[in-house]
């Protein structure tokens, strides 16, 4: 191995598969060097506030081109949530709603969602970490009605949704409530 290649274990560290503590002592310095490199990348950021109005201005100029399909028969109107019927199944009498669940948990290794819609199965609905800031999300299609749920952090900690109403679960914890 040439001198500028990271040890395979250090690469696993960079991949997030192992931690610094898992490295043998002789590789710690190399591991720390690698993490410093990564930390420098992860902290960098770029923002482009002008893009929004530039895009919308460009669309305004194109508006006429879109008139035909703007006037075409539309999908169901959107409110805060969009109710719509899935084509084919379920039947028209069973409206469903798309719901995006979000939890900010920077320290979590895994987050899932358990509730009345999945028989409280803490393995059934994992959330996906969407960025380096620890935002976990899942988007579900749920039948209209009422659902109770909680997030399960690292498979053991039941956490109510901090932004949703909650009720006593009868076991000394809180369930979040979603009324659709």
């Amino acid at each position: 191995m040439s001198g500028h290649e990271f040890h395979p274990l250090v690469k696993q560290l960079l991949d997030g598969d192992i931690t610094l503590a898992d490295l043998p002592a002789e590789l710690r310095a190399e591991g720390e060097e690698a993490l410093r490199l990564l930390a420098r990348v992860a902290r960098t950021d770029v923002t482009m506030p002008a893009v929004t109005w530039r895009v919308m201005a460009a669309l305004e100029r194109r508006r006429r081109r879109f008139l035909p399909w703007l006037l075409a028969p539309a999908l169901a109107a959107a409110a805060v949530l969009v109710l719509w019927l899935r084509p084919g199944s379920p039947p028209p009498s069973a409206p469903v709603v798309t719901v995006r669940f979000v939890l900010v948990a920077p320290e979590a290794r895994q987050v899932s969602l358990a509730g009345t819609f999945n028989q409280w199965d803490s393995h059934a609905t994992p959330l996906v970490r969407t960025g380096p800031t620890g935002v976990w999300t899942a988007t579900l299609t749920l039948p209209a009605g009422q659902h109770q749920y909680a997030f399960v952090v690292d498979g053991v900690r039941w956490v109510p949704d901090p932004g949703a109403p909650a009720v006593d679960d009868g076991f000394g914890r809180r369930n979040s409530v979603l009324t659709l």
Binding site: A79, Q119, A166, V167, T179
Partner: protein, 228 residues
């Protein structure tokens, strides 16, 4: 004589059906003693026209959360009690037995409302489907911290106005929006109730339906008033 025999047989077959449904849904999900308790409570509930789903859900939830069976049993008895309270409250409000409305009432009670609150909502004269949504929304508002008086006041106004379910379902989000501006939960609900009552008296506020202003002149002459 046949009729006299038919009644207990019907009850018996309903109980067997309830037992079977419960056993099927709980199989492999809860400890045997909890399954047995849910069957007992569920059979009694079904015999009184109460829903069994809240019991099954609570048993599954407790076991999934790793709650000790004795605590699950306590929670189940509380649910059974709430179902009974909700059914009585709905009957007092003039609503005949409706399992969905009773389940919604059970939720409202678990969220902090009382039997008399449920009766008050039932007395709005809303039909069972609308009342079911109203009870669930009222429970959600209670879970947001809206006190019972303001909660029932707001939901009652909407139910009396015959607002559709989609409007009722927006109430929690509307209350949250007002709270985000600095109002307390009570102030938010009271303000929304005043606005809804005013709207019921005078029609929609300016701005609503802006995209469709009435034509300056009616396209057709008004229809003559019907004869009394």
């Amino acid at each position: 004589m046949i009729a006299l025999l038919a009644i207990p047989l019907t009850v018996l077959s309903m109980q067997q059906a309830a037992d079977s449904a419960i056993a099927q849904r709980l199989a492999g999900r809860v400890p045997p003693q909890i399954a047995s308790l849910v069957e007992d409570l569920g059979t009694a509930a079904a015999a009184h026209g109460l829903p069994i789903d809240p019991l099954i859900q609570k048993a599954i939830e407790g076991s999934a959360k790793g709650v000790p069976p004795d605590r699950v049993a306590t929670a189940l008895r509380v649910v059974a009690m709430h179902l009974d309270t909700a059914a009585t409250a709905l009957r007092d409000g003039g609503l005949p037995s409706d399992t969905l409305a009773i389940a919604a009432g059970e939720f409202a009670i678990s969220a902090g409302l009382s039997g008399s609150d449920i009766t008050a909502l039932a007395r709005t004269g809303a039909n069972a489907a609308a009342l079911t949504v109203g009870l669930r929304v009222a429970g959600t508002l209670a879970a947001l911290g809206v006190p019972p008086a303001e909660d029932i006041g707001l939901v009652s106004v909407e139910l009396r106005a015959g607002e559709p379910a989609s409007t009722l379902l927006l109430l929690p989000a509307n209350v949250q929006a007002e709270m985000a501006k600095g109002a307390t939960a009570a102030q938010a609900a009271a303000g929304l109730a005043r606005a809804a009552a005013a709207q019921a008296r005078h029609g929609p506020p300016p701005g609503r339906g802006q995209g469709h202003p009435p034509p300056p002149h009616p396209p057709h002459p008004p229809a003559p008033a019907p004869h009394p």
